[in-house]
Amino acid sequence: MLKEASDGQLTALFDAVAASEQVQVEPVGRWFEAFLKRRSRNVSASFQELEEEEELSEEEEDEELQLEEYPMLKTLDPKDWKNQDHYAVLGLARVRYKATQKQIKAAHKAMVLKHHPDKRKAAGEQIVEGDNDYFTCITKAMEMLSDPVKRRAFDSVDPTFDNMVPSKAEGKENFFEVFAPVFERNSRWSVKKHVPSLGSKDASFEEVDHFYSFWYNFDSWREFSYLDEEEKEKAECRDERRWIEKQNRASRAQRKKEEMNRIRTLVDTAYNCDPRIKKFKEEEKARKESEKKAKAEARKREQEEKERVRQEEEKAARMLKEKEEELARQAAQQAKKEKEVQKKAIKKERQKLRTTCKTHSYFTDNEADGVRMMEEVEKLCDRLELSSLQTLNEALASGNKEQSKAALEKQVQEVNNQMQKEKEAEMQAQQAVRGAEQTSAGGGGGANNRGWNEEDLQLLIKAVNLFPAGTNARWEVIASYMNQHSSSGVKRTAKDVINKAKTLQKLDPHQKDEINRKAFEKFKKEHSVVPQTVDNAAPSERFDAVGAESNSSPWTTEEQKLLEQALKTFPVNTPERWEKISEAVPGRSKKDCMKRYKELVEMIKAKKAAQEQVAAKNKK
């Protein structure tokens, strides 16, 4: 029970309320979920209250609902119920699809109270008997609208619904005025609630995007079973029913497709006409362009930067180089100067030495000695370094004549020794180079490092002499000759042979001699060894062997010439030809000549064979 307010009391605040505090709650129960949802949606008012308010407002509408009498009601033909407007029949023509079940029920009740045949009979009206009374239409309307499935079917083909899709030309001019009502109208078919509205001119990109994505994915509940031409219930047998069903399904699908196309066309048209889309596209384009530009600029800047850096680097490098060059030049100049100074000093020292020597008349009385000494001194002047010259001069200057002479002679001797050493070193170096050349020539001659031993070299020299320049395919012939006669078993090509021959030509003649000498030594060694074994092992050796031994030396060119001459002067049919020939060649026995001849014949044969072989090869 509240108290009475005293006189002066007024509505007033005394104190602030305590601030809210945070507590942890258990995450269970439906109210927690509701709370969470509310908070995530950022709705400040209580969820439940909102619901209550909604209900309240609905009830209020109920009360306000005014039924409109359908003027044509009494003229309706109950048989043609399919074509009647059920909402109009119940007096809900204005509310139509928005009517709640409650409203429909109330409307039906009102209509029944007014139009029931019993009522009308009581009022003295004429009633048509049976189902033909117009009241049947009311019943039918109620039947259609109270069943959600049937109502949906009727709503889908609502005769008052405008299926029109505005044309492009219309939409271009005043887009929002034309399309807003169209979308509003069509949004009733959406399965989802909260259909996004078309929005205004300044709608954000997200809003517009959401709007179009919603409409492009429009999920419609509109269906066309109400327009079914055949009624399933009328069928007499199962087969017929099936057939009807099939027919109906096909026509429904067809209509549904048309409907989807209609929506699609609508959205497409709107999309194409939408000034906002155009704007966004342009913006996007501009953005891309600017991005591109920015990118290009950035690239350009980067390039410039790179160029600049490169140039700087180059400059720095150049400077550095210049500096270095400058330094080098200075150093060179310095060195030159020093050299000149040194030269001068040396000259001076030399002059000094000469003069000292001259003053001492070269430490000798003898004229010849003096000349020799002069030469030596000149040599010293050439050879000695500045420092040693200086020491020498000092020694010469400080000591008496004898000492000076000794020092000078010592110096001369040293220089001579040194020169000797240098000469030897040079010789050695030359030898080494020669050796290297030899090995390199050998290495170059054969791919698998075919060495040229003395025998081969000898053979080569022989072959080169045998086949003089001008012989057909000379080097090939030499090579095959070598291959045939070589005991080393190494195969040589023409190239190898040319190389070796060239190196041999290059070699100084004394080396050639050396080779020849070596070959001779070897030959001698071989031949001296063999007779020894013969001596030891075979005492019953033929006597001729002695003769052979005496001629073991090779045929000289002169002997060869003599032999050839003899062979020509004494033809084959000459009696005792070989005796005569041997007489013609001094120092050679009959046997030697025969042997030599045989060798020559063989040699010629081999030569011919080799030539043939090469010719055959060439032919191939």
Partner: protein, 504 residues
């Protein structure tokens, strides 16, 4: 859409299915509605449930019990150590985490507690599937209030590896409240509920405040030493004493005999909850001798009297802790299998003489049913991720009261807006004033301080009482808007009271 709630306890696990708006516990393949949380490892297989529990006599070292005690704990954790000492199955340290050493014939396996829990969850899933006839994934799992983050994660992982899609982990006491639908019908009003849970090995008492359909734990107390097993143990000791009396033989030193006695005592204890006396019979308990003994309920209560006292003890302490008297508690919810014991119920009833004792749902099924209900609420919705901030709620700090006079003329305070109401909220009251008056004043108080007064003048005096609609709306920051409207004349007054922070 079906969803399930799983209660994974220390000794038992239980699963309830939410289907067609109802939550029901489903029986497992053995026909039991509660499955012992026992896993036995054999050479080639793992056994979960009653078979494992019964086989424990022969296979104690390879049978894991009370895995929840060690789940999600480090090896050095004192609770884990306590479990290790108690467990017959060897617990070893593997890189600071406890592992069960399972001897499977030739090789020794090391099994993590999570794997054991996974097997139990898998069994629960199978049970639910066989009842539903289809695959079910979405589950709400209960955890004790004192579980830490690590343990919760371990439990969640175990459940997920068993194939569950864990919708949410909820606390056992709030699941119990949900099972009885406390505060779920209307989001108005405020009440206090005490949840008394006596499980297999633990006792926990929790006081919750229910305000606007939301639950809030005020205080909780857990005793891991008291539980149904303590009663069984006490009874088994008694039986051993009886055996000694008859056969002059001490069986307490024989573990197998004691296990047999425990099993027998367990059965007897269950019987005594419904019957006046129970017969214990153990074949070949010791040395081939059979044992038979009759225990009456009175005897049982006498044996366990100290335990009963110990079980009741925490309630008083808890009420003191939250500054509530036993009359402030509006409801008491019993859960846990041992809450069936008639003596215990009697003792609680004595403590709360005017309070409704809720035990219509079998106490060991209360929690899974609540979990299943929560699963039913959550399933099929894209639930938001629950962070720490999503479970903190702005609340009214203290009661908003109105000073009124009662019939005798004494001043009384009527609570118009109770403390702890989640904000924002609106409360509507119809206050009355004597019809003879032409003006009424409504004085609002908060914590004994006057905060505002609203005066309605120029009322038409009439015979009946003045009905004054008072609507209080409090925003999240705590600022209050009050509107008073006299019903017959429509005269109204409104004030907005800022919070101290906003006013300054």
């Amino acid at each position: 859409m079906a969803a399930i709630g799983v209660h994974f306890g220390y000794t038992c696990a239980c699963v309830a299915v939410f289907k067609d708006g109802r939550a029901d516990v489903v029986a497992n393949d053995a026909g039991d509605r509660v499955t012992p949380a026992v896993v036995a490892y054999r050479d080639t297989e793992q056994i979960v449930g009653i078979a494992a529990k019964q086989g424990r006599i022969r296979n104690a070292t390879n049978t894991v019990v009370k895995v929840k005690q060690i789940l999600g704990r480090c090896y050095d954790d004192p609770d884990a150590q306590a479990h290790r000492e108690e467990s017959k199955c060897i617990v070893v340290n593997k890189s600071d985490l406890p592992r069960y050493e399972i001897d499977t014939g030739e090789t020794t396996k090391y099994v993590s507690p999570e794997d054991v829990a996974k097997l139990i969850f898998h069994k629960m899933k199978e049970t639910a599937q066989s009842a539903l006839g289809s695959d079910v994934k979405d589950a709400v799992i209960t955890v004790p209030f004192e579980f830490g983050e690590m343990q919760k994660n371990a439990l969640r992982q175990a459940a997920e590896s068993a194939g569950f899609d864990v919708l949410r982990l909820i606390h056992e006491p709030s699941a119990a409240l949900l099972a009885y639908g406390i505060g779920q019908d209307s989001p108005l009003g405020k009440s206090h509920v005490l949840v008394y849970k006596l499980g297999g090995t633990s006792l926990s008492v929790t006081v919750l405040e229910v305000n606007s359909g939301m639950y809030r734990v005020l205080a909780t107390q857990t005793d891991h030493r008291t539980g149904g097993e303590s009663f069984t143990h006490e009874l088994a000791q008694h039986l051993a004493a009886e055996f000694k009396k008859t056969f002059k033989l001490d069986v307490t030193g024989n573990p197998r005999a004691m296990l047999k006695l425990m099993n027998s005592a367990d059965v007897a204890k269950h019987t005594l909850s419904t019957l006046g006396s129970a017969n214990c019979f153990v074949d070949s308990l010791y040395d081939g001798m059979d044992f038979e003994c009759n225990v009456s309920r009175a005897r049982f209560e006498l044996i366990c009297s100290s335990l009963f006292n110990k079980s009741i003890q925490p309630i008083k302490g808890l009420l003191e802790q939250v500054n509530l008297s036993s009359s402030d508690i509006n409801k008491v919810v019993l859960c846990g299998g041992s809450a069936r014991i008639p003596k215990l119920q009697q003792m609680i009833r004595d403590l709360f003489p005017d309070v409704e004792l809720l035990n219509s749902i079998p106490p060991d099924e209360v929690i899974p049913v609540g979990a299943a209900m929560q699963a039913g609420i959550l399933v099929g919705k894209d639930s938001l991720a629950l962070g720490e901030d999503s479970i903190t709620v702005d609340c009214c700090a203290s009661d908003i009261t109105a000073k009124e006079v009662d019939d005798s003329g004494a001043e009384v305070f009527t609570v118009l807006f109770p403390s702890g109401t989640p904000l924002p909220a609106r409360r509507q009251h119809t206050l009355q004033g004597p019809g003879s008056l032409s003006s009424v004043s409504l004085e609002l108080y908060q914590a004994q301080r006057p905060i505002a007064q609203i005066v309605l003048r120029d009322l038409e005096p009439k015979d009946e009482l003045h009905d004054i609609d008072t609507v209080l709306t409090m925003k999240r920051d705590g600022s209050l808007h009050v509107t008073c409207t006299e019903q017959s004349s429509g005269r109204s007054e409104a004030v907005t009271i800022q919070t101290a922070a906003a006013a300054s």
